[in-house]
């Protein structure tokens, strides 16, 4: 069966459908709950990641603000001394030097005077750290031109401290720095100088790395113009802006948005696609400097635990479903198998029923309705078809009958039974001796028997005209003969049929008188067991045969007795019975003779019987005898082909003062009344040698009529008396 078909079959099956629904509901429930769990655990993880990021960003901000505050405080603290020194310009170097010397975070400091306030020309002493010592420089050079610098202009413009855009110090070893500038008022309250402190921000990278909570997170710090102060890719630092970078990013929309938010000094969280990974960006500003920091954390880092759990959960679910499906599949398979087994069984039972009905239809169930015979037969099949058989038919006034029991049960036994039955019919069609019938059947059955089955068989040929029975028993239960007493018919110990070929079976003979009967049966009767495993037995059977009854009543009675004995125990074997009650031989109104010339002599006794019953004279009897003999001789000599056995029946009836004789045979059609009569007055020379017989018939009998009926020649002759 193809997969599609089996699936269709499964879906059509109600219980299968229920099973599938069950699995489906279980799957949906488990999946939904695990999805819920996943959702909530992801939300929890996302929240905790947000908190984590917030904490880290705060820590970073604090670190940066420490430096910023420190620097601002240092310069604030030096405001007074700087103001004082404005009048003593040379001492301004000392102010700067001390700021650098006293504060390890500050690597350079300058005091830029505002030209035109306390001095006419630009003046800007600058002190910075170099290696181990301090360098004293003046920034008031034409090349540098400090009054044009942002760090100088912005604080003046804002009139407050100002953190410059970070920059790379080209002179002092390519260090990334930022400068805090503070305007200084002179004693008159006019802004006369800008005090600066340079701080290195190379440590920002370290700071970011230290605060990174997830292994694959990347931290970034942007300046207020959007340049990278720190990025995992060093080549971008100070050279690229997020905006520029966003243009090249796949998720440019989000990065532009992020850039805007960060440069706007906002803090928050955003989802982006970063380097091909779904990631969260946590960002927060750094006050005063105008910087903004962010962490980009890939989902994979945040949800890695969940992912593992999720993977495991799904794996378990998958395993569970697979197991459920396997169980369901095996259930369905076993159900399908069961169903198939059932179907096979049903089919087999159907076959058996058919076989049983064949068995039943093969045995004749219409019994001859004759005055000289009362017979019945029955088969009560066991649960399944068995190998019992009976058969009978009447040919030429002889009853051919048999009972058999094939070893084994079921269809094979039924087949052997059918073969046996047809062998019986075939062989007995040309044979009227039971022993020859059985011998021939045995040879046929043994030659074609591949199945080691054998048949116990009883065959009888009862001449209904005289009660003469010749029979042959091949290993079957001896029938019961009911005469004045009831006893087993004596039988020769022959083998059953189908065992050894070429054996001559020995037959026997017995004459039945009027009212004698034969009861044939199979061991289903005698071996019927009750619940205590006792057998019905021959004794009970013979007891049950007592009393004068019709054949049907006898069979019903035995069946009833067996059923009563067996009780509720199951019938283990076929129950086959045949009852033959012979009621012929009571009068002599019929004679049957073979087509054998020698038997013609029997007519004398027949005619004498009639003569004595009807008080005929010896002369009349003799005349009738002669006429009948002539008619019979004609049939004996010419009706049947040479060598073929045939029979001739002669019936006599007495009606209205005349005797009617009906001579019948199954030979070739011949109407003797059509034969031309001889000329009794012819001379010796003219007299033909034949033709005397029919002439005598015509002369003696008062009427002679011929008819062909049912394949028989019937010659009706009447004699008035």
């Amino acid at each position: 069966m193809s997969l599609k078909e089996s699936i269709q079959k499964l879906i059509q099956n109600r219980s299968t459908r229920a099973g599938l629904m069950l699995v489906l509901v279980a799957a949906l429930t488990i999946e939904a709950s695990s999805l819920m769990q996943l959702y909530f655990s992801r939300r929890t993880l996302a929240n905790s990641a947000s908190k984590q990021a917030e904490v880290q960003l705060q820590a970073m901000r604090n670190s940066i603000m420490d430096v910023v505050n420190q620097t601002e405080i240092v310069l604030q603290n030096n405001t007074w001394v700087t103001r004082w020194c404005l009048d003593h310009r040379d001492s301004l170097y000392r102010v700067s030097a001390r700021i650098v010397q006293d504060n390890p975070g500050i690597i350079g400091s300058a005091v830029a005077l505002v030209p035109g306030v306390d001095c006419d020309s630009p003046f800007c002493p600058y002190v910075c750290e170099t290696e181990d010592s301090l360098s004293y420089l003046s920034l008031a050079t034409e090349e540098y031109n400090y009054p044009s610098k942002e760090w100088y202009l912005k604080p003046l413009q804002l009139n407050s401290g100002y953190w410059s855009e970070p920059y790379i110090d080209v002179g002092g070893g390519e260090v990334m720095m930022t400068t805090f500038s503070l305007p200084i008022q002179n004693t008159a309250g006019i802004t006369a100088a800008v005090l600066t402190a340079d701080i290195s921000i190379e440590w920002l990278g370290k700071l970011v790395e230290e605060n990174k909570a997830y292994p694959n997170a990347s931290g970034m710090i942007l300046s207020r113009t959007g340049r990278f102060l720190f990025n995992a890719s060093p080549e971008l630092i100070m050279k690229q802006t997020v905006h520029e970078l966003a243009g090249r990013m796949r998720d440019s929309v989000h990065f532009r948005k992020l850039n805007k938010a960060m440069l706007g000094g906002e803090s928050g969280k955003m989802s982006v696609n970063f380097k091909g990974q779904r990631s969260y960006v946590y960002y927060a500003p750094v006050e005063r400097t105008g910087w903004s920091m962010c962490f980009i954390v890939p989902y994979s880092d945040i949800f890695s635990d969940v992912r593992h759990t999720d993977f495991l959960v799904h794996l378990l679910q998958l395993l569970g479903f697979v197991m459920l499906l396997l169980i369901l599949n095996s259930l369905i398979k076993s159900q399908v198998k069961f169903k198939e087994a059932n179907e096979t069984k049903e089919r087999l039972e159907g076959d058996l029923r058919i076989a049983s009905s064949i068995q039943m239809s093969m045995v004749p169930t219409v019994f001859p309705s004759r005055k000289d015979l009362d017979m019945s037969a029955s088969i009560v099949p066991a649960r399944e078809v068995g190998g019992d058989l009976y058969d009978f038919y009447i040919r030429d006034e002889k009853l051919y009958f048999c009972v058999g029991d094939v070893s084994g049960k079921g269809v094979p036994a039924a087949l052997v039974m059918a073969v046996t039955r047809s062998a019986f019919r075939t062989v007995s069609a040309h044979e009227d001796s039971a022993e020859r019938i059985v011998t021939t059947m045995n040879n046929g059955l043994t030659d074609t028997n591949d199945s080691d089955m054998f048949v116990t068989f009883f065959c009888g040929v009862l001449d209904l005209t005289n009660g003469h029975l010749n029979y042959c028993n091949a290993g079957h239960n001896p029938p019961v003969i009911l005469t004045d007493s009831i006893q087993a018919l004596p039988v020769e110990p022959n083998l059953p049929l189908g065992i050894v070929t070429g054996v001559d079976f020995k037959g026997q003979e017995i004459d039945l008188a009027y009212d004698d009967a034969l009861f044939l049966y199979t061991d289903g009767v005698t071996e019927a067991e009750n619940e205590d495993q006792e057998q019905f037995g021959e004794e009970r059977m013979i007891d049950a045969l007592h009393g004068r009854k019709g054949s049907i009543e006898h069979l019903n009675n035995i069946q009833k007795e067996v059923a009563a004995f067996v009780g509720s125990a199951p019938q283990s074997d076929d129950l086959t019975m045949l009852f033959i009650h012979y009621l012929g031989n009571s009068h002599e109104n019929r004679i049957t003779i073979d087509n054998d010339v020698k038997q013609i002599s029997r007519l004398e006794g027949f005619v004498n019987g009639i003569a004595s019953r009807h008080g005929l004279s010896a002369t009349d009897a003799s005349a009738i005898n002669l006429a009948l003999e002539e008619a019979v001789t004609n049939v004996v000599l010419y009706a049947y082909p040479k060598g073929q056995r045939g029979r001739i029946d002669l019936d006599s009836t007495f009606v209205d003062g005349h005797l009617e004789f009906a001579l019948s045979d199954s030979g070739v059609e011949f109407d003797p009344t059509k034969a031309p009569d001889i000329n009794v007055d012819a001379s010796v020379e003219e007299r033909p040698i034949g033709g005397l017989g029919i002439h005598l018939v015509r002369t003696i009998m008062d009427s002679v009529r011929y008819e062909r009926k049912g394949g028989k020649n019937i010659l009706r002759m009447t004699k008035n008396i």
Binding site: T619, S622, L626, T633
Partner: protein, 100 residues
Amino acid sequence: MEIKVSKEKGEITVFLKGRLDTPAAQDAAAELEPLKAEADKTIVMDCKELSYISSSGLRIFLSFRKAAAEKGGKIIVRNITNDIRTVFMMTGFLNLFEIQ
């Protein structure tokens, strides 16, 4: 069926005893066949004890009669019972034989 043949003084007598029905006639025909050679003489069929005769028996009589006619002999049927006589009458045999 018993058959006895006696030949005395040149006269051949066949004594038939019992029923000469079809089976008996078959045997009798065979038994009497050699006697046909003497059909030029007088053959007497003594039927005193012949109780029954069928056409087969009659045929033996007829075959002897034909043989006698051919060879110039004579067949005499003697002592027939009434029943046999009736049969001879019915078959026209009374005209063919000399009945004594």
